[in-house]
Symmetry: C4
Subunit: 286 residues, 4 copies
């Protein structure tokens, strides 16, 4: 087996990374929590379980890809790393494409798994709006109360806060994290977004995660309505997150990271040092 696998080994680092990003986003979408709640008309979950599903889906998407590509799983995050000079610009289009393909196939898998349920629920009609609408399972649509500018602001604000926290979690000088906790915290962050910024337009936050499934529903039978709906809403969750992401990243850099002394001296870290000292003392006494 091992030898068999060794034969298939790909030496190109970039190909490996793209495969990892693809698989990570595929798993992220694969958790079709919305499909379950919608088609079961709320008997098999509620708003919270949908948010738990997408947050946990992201956690395991990250665990699958983190060691190979760093598990960006979001073109906005890749962009912000490029801007910060922590990721090569030339990889950005390849990563983004991998995200898009992963999201498209993830949506296809959800449709495959819930084919019977969706057919029964919708009576065979694949609709974007109305009581039997099923397009909302796959990508974001604005709520009735939401104006165009309201949607734009919502996505800029949400993605800004999202990226600000993502960058903060990566900032080692702001306090280290144990291995393995980081993906869980990103999942918790997505849950936070879901329970606090999901009612305007479903917090896409991720252009690939929104466009990929939208393209799938377009070809799978929901038709061009998926692009027309909400007054041509489709491009907002593609453009706004990039704006918000840069805004959030720069905010963190300017307010926090730029001011770190090269050697950590903040009260928190001094205290951590003290803690470490104590821990070590305990060991010494063994």
């Amino acid at each position: 087996m091992e030898t068999l696998l060794r034969r298939c080994q790909i030496r190109s680092q970039i190909v490996r990374e793209c495969i990892a990003e693809f698989l990570g986003l595929y798993i992220l979408i694969g958790s079709g929590a919305a499909a379950q709640v919608v088609t079961s008309r709320g008997t098999h979950g509620d708003y919270l379980t949908i948010q738990l599903g997408s947050a946990l889906g992201a956690v395991f998407g990250i665990f699958v890809a983190r060691g190979v590509s760093g598990a960006h799983l979001n073109p906005v995050y890749s962009l912000s790393l490029c801007v910060l000079g922590r990721h090569p610009w030339k990889k950005l289009p390849l990563y983004s494409l991998s995200h898009l393909v992963g999201a498209f196939l993830g949506a296809a898998t959800v449709y495959l798994q819930y084919y019977d349920a969706i057919q029964t629920f919708s009576g065979g009609e694949l609709l974007v709006a109305g009581p039997n609408a099923t397009a909302g399972i796959f990508c974001s649509y604005p709520a009735d109360h939401l104006s165009f500018w309201g949607g734009l602001v919502d996505q800029v604000v949400a993605t800004a806060l999202f990226l600000l926290c993502c960058v903060a979690l990566e900032d080692q000088r702001n306090g280290p994290l144990p291995d393995g906790l980081h993906p869980v915290l990103v999942g918790a962050l997505i849950l936070t977004m879901g329970v606090s910024m999901g009612s305007n337009c479903g917090f896409p936050l991720n252009p690939a995660r929104d466009l990929g499934p939208r393209l799938f529903t377009f070809v799978a039978g929901w038709g061009e309505e998926v692009f027309k709906a909400g007054g041509g809403w489709w491009w907002v969750p593609i453009v706004a997150p990039f704006v918000g992401g840069l805004l959030g990243t720069l905010t963190y850099e300017l307010l926090i990271e730029a001011h770190h002394q090269t050697t950590p001296q903040s009260p928190q870290q001094e205290q951590e040092a003290v803690e470490l000292e104590e821990v070590i003392c305990i060991d010494c006494e063994i």
Copy 2:
């Protein structure tokens, strides 16, 4: 006490492992969250608490067995480890049998604990279908909307994603995990399945966890209907998970693990190295 216990010590490694696998699955089932919600008609929990119960039950099942047998708790997982050459084939039947017995006795315990509640709820009639059905407390039955092929696909897809993530969590070259976090993450993974793939047929994912309790309900008074229901559904959650499990395992191996360099060089791990360096710096300054 210690000396008394030492007398009972079993030297055979395989017997110890089978006992651990048995006890682990016994505890996994022992958490009868479904019994509580069904018999209380939803006053003592909802769909989410059922999923929390089975996820957390698995977490503690793993904690009980992990140090002795590695806590497979699922014949599909044992099989995938055998295929990968990480578990001896000859142990597979013994592990699977231990799982089956553990699941059977776990179901018996749930029935014992909820005997009064089930009798009151069902009016003494142990039914597989209908408003007062109680068989669903113990094992999986397909939803009305689910076709035979739909059920097969659902289980193959769900188990494939499940095993893919399980194998990823075990892959140390994809980023280490702190001791003790691994069982929690497997529980989180089961919760993910529950909130996103549970409405078609209750995401069995585990042949022993499904067949054991089904056998118990068969002998305990629900009768042969437990095998006839859903057009002879009973064998699908036994066969499909093995197919899906292999599919998921091989997908991860071919897309991710096969391509690891022997010495870790991925961005993520380089970064971790840097982090470690920084952490060490902090200590040094003490």
Copy 3:
């Protein structure tokens, strides 16, 4: 301040431990999640939030006491440690008394904090049964469907599983835990009990946690009905947990712990060793 505190320093280890156990249980009860849900008639929480409240209350009770007394917070747990020779028998009555006092004062605090709410909800009548009953906020009462033997079995089974898992979490040879994760896991275990074994009689599991608040309600105005209700139910959650606790402890000792080799050799731990090796390799490359 420091010097002031140093003056109050108590040198007696046992007194310090009793204070810690007292405070831990006080906090455990202090989280009156049931009071909130009952008196708000479900507008401020549901069954799950009650379980989250008691689970998290226990987590922080443990964090408050763990360093001083080991945070037993349950006479059943103290007893099982005594039986295993890991805790001196002479401390058992003192610990149990501290638990009882902590639980009594914790209940008093909940009543103080929810005095207005309870008065408004109950119309000033402190009842044990009926639609406006409030005694269930403080301690356990059997559900209508539950027979005497059913209640006894429920408590023996639940406490057995509870202690079995508690002892497993303490068993270092079954895989180590990172500091600080242990209290969280005990909380998760209590949540598991709540979502899967709470509908028969509210999973007391803890004689002190049940009797202390019951005594408080007795003196606070609910009267002797708190002891008469459920056919003199009150003594079941005091006796049954001790029986179940010993059963669970011995089960784990006989099935798992007795068979550990003195030097760990189980697959899981070998694997951990390997992981450690890899982690170290990464560091070395820095």
Copy 4:
């Protein structure tokens, strides 16, 4: 980019700390879970999601600020550290002001993001009471059943328990915590408060978190009613938390921390030492 950022570097430690405290509280409030549930009339969340939102908001607020200022995010916590001689008194007003400004702008952001939703929900009328009230999204108001003294007691008790646990989590001699777990536990503590002490007056616990948004609603169009409501309730969540905070801090110091031996000797820690020993043994065998 790096060089650009370096140009903006602020050398003053206190300014950096104030910015961090400001940003932390800004993020804490930024998660407008209440806005979502209220304006969606419960279709996009429930009481639990509101609590999850504020708890998780705090977690990420802490992650953003912890390395720079220690992430107090609450004037009460800063005060208790000052009283314990662990924080300079002269920083207290500056920290508190940063908290207030962060909370004010956080509330403004929530209003911006939910402008359409709030307008639609309230029909354009910004009310403090009644079925279409929206002021409760931003700060605390007492429930109808709550008397003045009841509210005062509720806040003193809740904040006392809150600070008692916060100080316990910081007490290294009561058992160390892994880096990165501490912020998560503080979030869990806030969740505990929310599910168990939220129905009387919404557990403000934090004068800045309550007054800042109240000031915002005052200027944003809800008018002076935000100060008149509940019989001039507004000052209770400002004064009571300071009283409760000191009470809880001193309780912990007098009952637990004052009695720690300088060299750790408690059973728990001895046991940890033993565990460490065992862990080390495992490593040795590599």
